[in-house]
């Protein structure tokens, strides 16, 4: 049996939640004070995802960096692969919030989009 310990981020309480697993199956979730902690812990151990934010180089403007984010959350295990692609990407002004800067980043099926307007 495998035990995973996590801190719930549902509220400032920050309950220490323990998940007991066997062969990828969740047997038991303990330590959470409310349902949010249970849901959070189950997702974290089976399919943890994050939104990645960073910047890319931009040409044709006084600004040198364009802030970007993944349009939706990506698997946590892909974060550094996604960063690698972002680090080599360029954008050209003008750019609007939501414009796609990188399509299907690192095979995640998720686009990287601009998060500010640069004229």
């Amino acid at each position: 049996m495998e035990k995973r310990e996590l801190t719930c981020i549902g509220c400032p309480m920050g309950c220490l939640v323990t998940v007991e697993m066997e062969n990828g199956e969740i047997l038991n979730v303990t330590g959470n004070t409310c349902k949010i902690g249970d849901t959070y812990a189950r997702k974290e151990v089976t399919n943890p995802t994050r939104i990645v934010t960073s910047t890319v180089m931009i040409e044709g403007s006084d600004f040198t960096r364009l802030p970007v984010k993944t349009a939706s959350d990506i698997p946590k295990s892909s974060i550094f692969a996604v960063m690698e692609v972002i680090n080599h990407a360029h954008a050209k002004a003008p750019v609007k919030i939501g414009d796609v800067v990188i399509k299907d980043v690192a095979g995640t099926g998720v686009d990287v989009v601009a998060t500010r307007n640069i004229a």
Partner: protein
């Protein structure tokens, strides 16, 4: 120079929300003065997500959140001047400012809204004798360098102080390929949001050393490493606990202080606890017609609260310009913080001007578990709200209905306190 009804000092989220609300409340003569070359304030460098959950029910990045308000300011055709530094606010509400095109100029205003935000505590906070080699940055400066200029300050990082900016920067530097050795925090608890500790440190295995501080910096030209030691209850390093961490960069995330030089010289009464002005229910300072909102009033962790407060300040400023100040029908009610609550915003309430609800925001000075937030109206307890945890890093609030206050005839004092039972 043209005169304006309302002059807003600072074009960050507070200034923008105040301007939009004042305009929507019917005032057509509003000017925002911003010393930076763009609107949006500190949000422009906060490229991470987590803004606006309360206001927009989605998680935006800092620049996206700012742009929602910048767009409104433009749509509503509110005047603003960039690259313009406000130098002085006189007691008669004449605002003196300076920029390249206009030089030094004065604007007579009927109301002024202070929205200058805050700045980082100076480096002196690092209480170590000796050299100051290159490679020491405040976390906010590092954030601007990385996110706006695209410049990486170093490859091996130690962060002193666990405020939110430091936590966010730990993750940011990790994303950019740097190794963050640890985050050391003098206090036995973090000043940052739990969410940030988990998502910025735990996610990447970065240790958070509570009750620890930097006692020595190695390196003459450039930082080569730091020695970190545990501290006792009186924040004194414990001999024998020293440990060396190799690094080329030391980041200081030791907190923010409201930027109130202008408010002070204008003669606004300041609260020594928050380093911000005392305000009443309308976010009006001790000077009639001068309002304050956002981080200049008290340091916020959630921008949503900034926008909400600022909108009220804007509405009240517009109302003040329209109607002036009528003699109050009753004495102002004092709002007091005791027993764990360190301060309140506001500190006075006039029932004449109060809307339907009174929101009192405050912070505590230590971590409380299973405690109660209580409100007393002249000694009678009207709120006794159980909280599983109350921490200095998270702003708290209590909301009272106006009827509750009016029902209590002759009310003189509202007390907010934290009780263990």
């Amino acid at each position: 120079m043209k005169s304006y009804d309302i002059v807003i000092v600072g074009g960050g989220p507070a200034g923008l929300a105040a301007a939009v609300a004042a305009k929507k409340a019917g005032n057509d003569s509003i000017l925002i003065l911003e010393r930076d070359h763009e609107l949006g304030g500190i949000l422009n460098q906060c490229i991470h997500n987590g803004f606006g959950l309360h206001t927009f029910k989605e998680e935006l990045t800092g620049p996206e959140y700012a742009s929602r308000f910048i767009d409104q300011v433009k749509e509503l055709q509110i005047d603003y001047k960039l690259n313009t530094m406000v130098m002085d606010i006189a007691a008669d509400k004449t605002v003196t400012a300076m920029n390249r095109e206009d030089g030094m100029f004065q604007i007579p205003a009927k109301a002024v809204i202070l929205a200058m935000g805050c700045r980082e505590r100076p480096r002196g906070a690092l209480n170590i004798p000796g050299y100051r080699p290159a490679g020491i940055y405040s976390a906010g400066t590092a954030q601007r360098l990385v996110n706006i200029e695209g410049f990486m300050p170093g490859k091996e990082i130690v962060i002193l102080g666990s405020g939110d900016i430091g936590l966010i920067m730990a993750r940011r530097m990790t994303f950019e390929g740097a190794k963050v050795q640890c985050v050391a925090e003098l206090m036995p608890y973090s000043g940052g949001l739990k969410r940030n500790i988990v998502q910025c440190l735990d996610d990447y295995g970065i240790p958070l050393l509570l009750s620890h501080t930097v006692v020595d910096i190695k390196g003459k030209e450039r930082v080569e490493g730091v020695t970190i030691a545990e501290v006792d209850e009186r924040s004194k390093p414990v001999p024998g606990t020293e440990k060396f961490y190799s690094c080329d960069t030391l980041m200081l995330s030791t907190g923010l202080i409201p930027e109130n030089e202008l408010s002070r010289s204008a003669g606004v009464d300041m609260n020594p606890v928050t380093n911000g002005p005392f305000v009443n229910e309308s976010f009006e300072t001790s000077i009639e017609g001068v309002f304050a909102c956002g981080n200049v009033l008290h340091v916020h962790d959630l921008v949503d609260y900034v926008s909400e407060e600022a909108a009220k300040a804007g509405e009240h400023a517009a109302a003040y310009v329209k109607a002036g100040r009528e003699a109050a029908s009753a004495e102002e009610i004092r709002v007091k913080a005791t027993g764990g609550a360190r301060y309140t915003v506001p500190t006075t309430v006039s029932l004449d001007r109060l809307g339907d609800l009174l929101t009192v925001r405050f912070r505590v000075g230590a971590v409380y578990k299973d405690a109660f937030v209580s409100v007393y109206l002249d000694g009678e307890r009207v709120t006794h709200q159980k909280k599983r945890i109350i921490a200095p890093g998270e702003m708290e609030q209590v909301i009272l209905k106006k009827e509750q206050l009016t029902a209590h005839t002759g009310l003189k004092e509202i007390t907010v306190t934290v009780e263990t039972e």
